[in-house]
Amino acid sequence: MERPGWLVNWPVYRQLTGADRLGRGFAVRSPHTEHAAPRTEAAARVVSSVCPYCAVGCGQKVYVGMVGGREAVTQIEGDPDSPVSRGRLCPKGAASKQLVTHSGRQDKVLYRRPFAASWESLDLATAMDMIADRVLATRAATWEESVDGKRVARTLGFASLGGATLDNEENYLINKLWTALGAIQIENQARI
């Protein structure tokens, strides 16, 4: 005779009819447990990356999946293939998913007018345009063709200080553009 589903799924019944008489294991498993699987298996893609914190350069695997209908990083963990790190991460590296997904991240341009007491919003394209204007105006106002009779062809009117998480390619373009504009106060955390 066919037993009804509720009965055969009732752990008490499974306790009485199976090997797990004390109800501490097989008989009492829940649907959540039966369906457990690493969420990384559901990732849409996995890319190889490098930890953005210290200079050891630990390998990372970045898993991207759908969260609330949008693509998001669902896990970052060590890359076991890396001869540098062998898949291991420190607390900062282990927190790097949160670095990417935390709620304190800014994703909008903010603008503070001179003498203003608060931020206002600004369109990214407008901001870029305004910044380009500032650079050119400052450069024009502060251009030095020579110092003590020696040609220098530069501006000391604006400066740049980069962080140590800038990529090589980013530093290359920063140095290239600023130098071509005649700026020389191009600095980096590397001196700090």
Binding site: W10, P11, V12, Q15, L22, G23, R24, A27, V28
Partner: protein, 303 residues
């Protein structure tokens, strides 16, 4: 302990910065003591109702049945309120685990509640008498179990003061069950003015007090370290009050027939003593879990 009092450099070989090794129980006051008290009351009241029926005391039958049903319901309410997810109370019936006194207790409580409710309903409405009697008879089986199992419930934990008391606690609770039922009997008698059936309650009080105070005495007499919370601190103090109240309540109960006031006072002392004992047990358990010495020193002494 405030951070100012801690000293990093002071190497503490006996504990980790004086912090508890165990988690202090999440079971709260008044929920836990109230549940323990109501459960034992219900259990003994149910038996009392049956015994009254068997011995021809219809007044006490109704008292026993109604008190048993009401106390079971109230106890279940306190138990449910203790759950982090009360809506999942019925998950208790998912399994039947001999290793879990709470699982066994849940089955007992649910059965007992159903039986006592049916018996009480029958008694109050006068309908379905035989069925009511049958249900009551059943509750005479579940009743003692309901009163006794919490002793295992508490003892089957890592809480030093509870686990080490697995002999005393069931006796304390069933003794308390008797005095609680006696208190109910005395109180109802005093309030209704029907003094006819007071003597079983008086005897019940004496028997219960003997058992309850005996168990308390056993707890207090123990010299092992983990029993310390039963004689010191809040737990120890409450336990002393509880014993005094129970003993005086039982003795005062002897005057119940002469004085309604004495009967009511006796009922109050018996109930208060029983309840205080439950608070004492809870606090002793909390204290023994909070101070790591009870864990470290008792275990370090193990062979």
């Amino acid at each position: 302990m405030s951070a100012e009092q801690l000293q990093v450099p002071a190497a503490q070989f006996e504990s980790y910065y004086g912090r508890p090794i165990l988690k202090v129980t999440r079971w709260r006051e008044p929920h836990l003591p109230a549940y323990l008290f109501l459960g034992e009351l219900s259990g003994a009241a149910a038996v009392m109702g049956v015994a009254a029926g068997a011995t021809g005391r219809p007044g006490l039958v109704r008292t026993g049945r109604v008190v048993a049903a009401a106390a079971a319901a109230a106890g279940a309410a306190f138990l449910t309120a203790e759950l982090g997810r009360p809506e999942r109370f019925l998950h208790m019936l998912r399994v039947a685990k001999l290793t879990s006194p709470m699982s066994i207790g849940s089955w007992i409580l649910v059965s007992h509640s159903a039986l006592t409710s049916a018996a009480a309903a029958s008694s109050v409405t006068g309908l379905l008498g035989p069925l009511g009697t049958a249900a009551a008879a059943g509750s005479a089986v579940t009743g003692p179990l309901l009163a006794a199992y919490p002793g295992v419930l508490l003892a089957n934990t890592a809480v030093p003061a509870w686990h080490s008391s697995y002999r005393e606690l069931p006796l304390l609770f069933t003794g308390g069950a008797l005095t609680a039922a006696a208190a109910a009997g005395l109180a109802v008698a005093a309030l209704t003015g029907d003094q006819a059936d007071v003597s079983p309650s008086q005897r019940l009080a004496l028997a219960g007090a003997a058992l309850e105070c005996g168990a308390e005495f056993m707890l207090e007499r123990r010299s092992d370290l983990v029993a310390e919370p039963y004689h010191t601190g809040e737990g120890g103090k409450l336990l002393k009050y509880a014993r005094a109240a129970t003993m005086s309540g039982a003795l005062l109960g002897l005057a119940a027939r002469r004085s309604r006031a004495a009967a009511l006072a006796s009922a109050a002392l018996l109930a208060g003593g029983g309840l205080a004992a439950k608070f004492a047990v809870h606090r002793a358990g909390v204290e023994s879990a909070r101070d790591p010495k009870y864990v470290v020193q008792s275990q370090a002494a193990n062979p």
